[in-house]
Each structure stands twice: as structure tokens, then as C-alpha cells.
Amino acid sequence: MAKEQVISDEARKEIEGLFHHLPHKQAACIDALKVVQKYNRWVSDEALQELAPILEMSAHQIDSVATFYNIIFRKPVGRHVVFLCNSVSCYIMGYEEIYKALKDKLKIDFGGTTPDDRFTFLPIPCLGTCDHAPAMLVGEDLYRDLKPEQLDEILAKYE
């Protein structure tokens, strides 16, 4: 019974491309996880199993690395991840208002995913744009100097 492959051939190639400039394959572990995530949105147990022989590590060893980091998802996430900065400058500038507004609009709290799989809502430490607080990222797009009124328009851009 051939199991379905969760890491695509394309992703696999991309991972193998990471090995140059590195003394051993394990050193590409984090980047490989990122590649998996780029294609699959998150890193499933099956993905770990498939990654293991590519990196010459055990799935346990990869998971040990994966779970250390904030941005490697070991649980499914929606199509778009909304990262709201909750660090100090955004706190001073009132990110909590944005948080409440987003919670109302998305009907989920931090850590949640909308039932239609459209958004996952997460807090994120300082986005390094404190001079334009409060700030958030949706996927890779940065939004700054946020006002609750802008949220509808922003969210509407993401299907």
C-alpha cells in the first residue's frame, strides 16, 4: 500500500538544493521545514517522516527542532495567517483595540482558525516596525499604523 506523498517532488528538489554551502545535511533542517511549510502550510507528522531520510535525521530529531521555533506550525493553519504584534510599543500604542476588533470580525481568538480555513489568528512578538505601531502581518504583507476601521478592507483582500 503506497502511502500518499505529502512532500511534493518540487519541494523535495528545493530541499535538496539547500545542501550546498553546508557541511552536513542536518544543518538544512530549519530551512527544509520552511520549504515544507511553504508548500503545505504546516508540517504534519507524515511530512516529518518523509523529511527524515532526506535530511538523514530521525523524525524525532526534526520535531525537536521544529517545536522549538515559533513560526514552524505543527498544527494545520488557515490559508492566511494573521500575525498581530503584541509587544511593547504596540501595547503602548493600543494594539488591544485591534486585537478586540479582529477577534470580533474573525470570531476566533489567538490560536484559532476560522471554520472556512481562511484565517488563522496568532500573536507575534515585535515586528520591528514600532515607529508605526500597532502593526500586523497577514501572510507576508505588513500593515502598520493600524486603525480598527481599516481591518475590513484589509481582510477582504485575502480569500
Binding site: I92, C126, L142
Partner: protein, 426 residues
């Protein structure tokens, strides 16, 4: 006033292309460096009194000089740029990599030449997607132009450079944890000694410097140590510094200014003073892990020595301003929650002490504090003092708290006695 780091940046927010960078004098420093011996480059940087811009202000030339050189030295050595910049309230390296990535690349190539490294990595924080794209473009351009790769500019010197983007965690900014992250491992810090200069990335001699630190190097090479020293208003170091401000000031942002301007000038002139209706209560002078200063400190110089004398640290030089309508306990709580979450979990005081600290602050903020909590909190600041923990994360976390306990004690007491927080937002 000269602003070598920022004066050529374009106002439209796009990055300098290689052509534009070269037109502004880019890669001149490298050209000069390659005509010098590595030791001469190292000495020039020493003479310039360039100090690390990552927070600790360690003299850069001296750091380099600990790298083993000569015949017996390991063949493989590394140069690493620390662009993790996850310290809350800090956003200077973002500016550099987004608007002028070639400056960083050139600085790193020169540094690699000085210590004999043949491989280099830019470690960039995950959230800087735009920066990452621009660095990648610049790297491709530099390879094409022969600034990177084998036998660069006919000098016989080989240097490769890769971009590595992080996957989030503040501790990755700690240089030894960063090396572990670059090795694809869990980013726990390493014990020092051995220092990275001796055993760093993959156990090989490695220099880790901040992005801004490297960005100074091409200018020092191009224009000399004298010139560089003349930029500064500080005894302790040369050059300009990227300062910045966030919080309720009129003009939050990054400003390149001579090292050693006063805090007052920074707050009142460049940051434009407080927004209308807000009063200044406190300042974290260099990121989340520095002690509060108060309006009484406005006349100190923003350099490594003076800020230390005032009981804080210059850190990254980007100030976070606390106003009179924001709860200082709420601010401390926000900071300590951040640090507790970002602890790597390796050493006991940080892993266990920070969550406890955050819970105590949460209790006080929620009106459930007890009088003895203040003692426990100050006990925690002693327990996590520098040297007691494995790395500087937890001691850094204690800095705002210990100074808040000193300067805003009445707020703590009032919260505890009235069982509530009087500030409108928390």
C-alpha cells in the same frame, strides 16, 4: 552633518541597486581593503573605535583580533551578520537591509577578508520578508559583479554569502544561539568560553556582528579612522549611530546621529517631543531589555558609558517612551510576558523565574496582587542578575522590571492596595 549610513538611501522606499550603490561610492571600501593586508584592515577598524551596534558595544576590531590567524589557524572560518532584531522596540536593521543591502554585504566581505573567512551568512529575522527579498536581489547582483564568489576582483580572495531567514524566537539574536540556529539546531545559547571567535559556527572560528556594525565598515575603509572618529561626539567610540524612538512621541522613527548626542536632543528634537496630551514618564533607552530612565536623565549622552553611569544600558539606541497614560505595570507585564515566552528553556532561573514574574505582574495588574509580591519581584531581579543565568536574556528581562520597581513603586503599591489599575488601557 554626515550620515554615512543613511544619506544615500532613496526617499521612495526602494533599495539602492548595485549601480546606484556604486555611484554613491559603494564597494570603494572593499577595493581599498583588498589592497591592504588582513591585519591592516583589522587595525584600521580598531583605530576607528567602531563598537558593536548589537547592544553590548564591544569594540569590533578587538573582537576580530581574537580569531586565530596564520598557518596553523583552521582553514574554514565564518562571518555572520546578526539581523535577528527581535528586541521589542528595535527597528534599525530593518531600515538598513530594506534600503541599502549592498552596504551590509560590502561590510561583511571586508570583515571576511580581515579574518580570512571564506563563507558568510546573513541571519535575518523571519518577519522581514521585504528585507529578505532585497538582500537576495543584492546578493545575486554582487555575485554577478564579482564581489562575491571565487577570486573576487582578481584579489585571490574567495568569499561566499548566503541568506538565512529565521523561524522566529528572540533568543536567536543571542550570538551563540544564533549559531545553533544556523546549524539547523534548537537555538539554545552556548557557554562562553570557548568564544565563537575560537569555536563558533560548526565549531570553526566565527565572527558575529550586528547588521549596523557591518554597515559601518565600508565607510571606515573608504574614508579612514580619523574621519570616522570625527563623526562621533562620544569619547568611547567612533561614528554615527542609528537612534530611534517609538511610543507616544510626535515623530517616531529612526534617525542617524553622531554617537553621543544627548537623550534630550533625541527625544525633544528628533522624536519631536511627546504627542499632545501625553507627558513623559520614562524611557527604555535601548530596547526592551534596558533599565528605565526618567525625565531627570534627559541630559545624559546617549553613549555606552554615560547611559551605564545613569544605571541603564544604551542597548540598541532605540528608545521606547512611556507616557503618563500607560500603566507602567502593564508595560512591565507586557515585557515580561514576552521574555517568558521567548526564554529558550535551557537554564532554570529564566525558564521558571520569568513565567512566575509575569504571573505576579499579571496578578498585580488584575488587582490580585499581595503586598509581599513586591519583595518577591525584587527577589526575582536579584535571582536573575547577570551571571546567574546561562545567557543575557533573563538578566535583560530584569532590567526594566528592577528600574520600574525603583521609579514606579507607588504604582505597584497603589495597584496592590486599591486592587485595580487606574490607567484606562491595560
Amino acid at each position: 552633518m554626515e550620515r554615512p549610513l543613511t544619506q544615500h538611501m532613496k526617499s521612495d522606499g526602494t533599495a539602492l541597486s548595485l549601480k546606484e550603490y556604486e555611484a554613491s561610492g559603494g564597494y570603494e571600501g572593499l577595493r581599498k581593503a583588498l589592497k591592504m593586508t588582513p591585519l591592516e584592515v583589522m587595525n584600521l577598524v580598531k583605530d576607528s573605535k567602531l563598537r558593536g551596534r548589537g547592544g553590548a558595544g564591544f569594540p569590533t576590531g578587538m573582537k576580530w583580533s581574537f580569531v586565530p590567524m596564520g598557518e596553523d589557524a583552521p582553514k574554514q572560518k565564518y562571518i555572520v551578520a546578526n539581523g535577528d532584531e527581535m528586541e521589542p522596540g528595535t527597528f534599525k536593521d530593518r531600515l538598513l537591509v530594506e534600503l541599502n543591502p549592498h552596504m551590509l554585504i560590502e561590510g561583511m566581505i571586508i570583515s571576511a577578508y580581515a579574518i580570512g573567512a571564506s563563507m558568510s551568512y546573513i541571519f535575518l529575522r523571519w518577519a522581514y520578508h521585504l528585507g529578505a527579498k532585497r538582500i537576495q536581489v543584492a546578493l545575486d547582483e554582487a555575485y554577478q559583479a564579482g564581489y562575491l564568489g571565487k577570486n573576487i576582483m582578481g584579489s585571490g580572495f574567495d568569499i561566499d554569502m548566503d541568506l538565512h531567514t529565521s523561524v522566529g524566537r528572540y533568543i536567536c539574536g543571542e550570538e551563540t544561539a544564533l549559531l545553533n540556529a544556523l546549524e539547523g539546531k534548537r537555538a539554545n545559547p552556548r557557554n562562553k568560553p570557548p568564544f565563537p571567535q575560537v569555536s563558533g559556527l560548526f565549531g570553526k572560528p566565527t565572527i558575529v556582528n550586528n547588521v549596523e556594525t557591518y554597515c559601518n565598515v565600508p565607510h571606515i575603509l573608504a574614508k579612514g579612522a580619523e574621519w570616522y572618529l570625527s563623526l562621533s561626539q562620544s569619547e568611547g567610540g567612533g561614528g554615527t549611530k542609528l537612534y530611534g524612538a517609538s511610543g507616544r512621541v510626535k515623530n517616531p522613527g529612526v534617525y542617524e546621529l553622531p554617537l553621543g548626542i544627548t537623550l534630550r536632543e533625541l527625544v525633544e528634537v528628533h522624536a519631536g517631543g511627546m504627542q499632545d496630551g501625553y507627558k513623559l514618564r520614562g524611557i527604555l533607552p535601548g530596547g526592551a531589555s534596558t533599565d528605565f530612565l526618567t525625565p531627570d536623565h534627559l541630559d545624559i549622552k546617549m553613549d555606552f558609558e554615560e547611559v551605564a553611569k545613569a544605571g541603564s544600558r544604551m542597548g540598541t539606541g532605540l528608545i521606547i517612551v512611556l507616557d503618563d497614560k500607560t500603566c507602567p505595570i502593564g508595560m512591565c507585564l507586557n515585557l515580561e510576558q514576552f521574555f517568558a515566552q521567548e526564554s529558550c528553556g535551557w537554564c532554570t532561573p529564566c525558564r521558571e523565574g520569568l513565567p512566575w514574574t509575569a504571573k505576579l505582574l499579571q496578578g498585580i495588574e488584575d488587582g490580585q496582587g499581595r503586598p509581599e509580591d513586591i519583595d518577591i519581584l525584587s527577589g526575582q531581579t536579584r535571582y536573575m542578575a547577570p551571571g546567574n543565568t546561562f545567557c543575557a536574556l533573563a538578566p535583560g528581562a530584569m532590567e526594566p522590571l528592577q528600574s520600574a520597581l525603583k521609579y514606579f513603586r507607588e504604582d505597584f503599591e497603589e495597584h496592590i492596595h486599591t486592587h485595580h489599575c487606574k490607567y484606562q488601557h491595560h
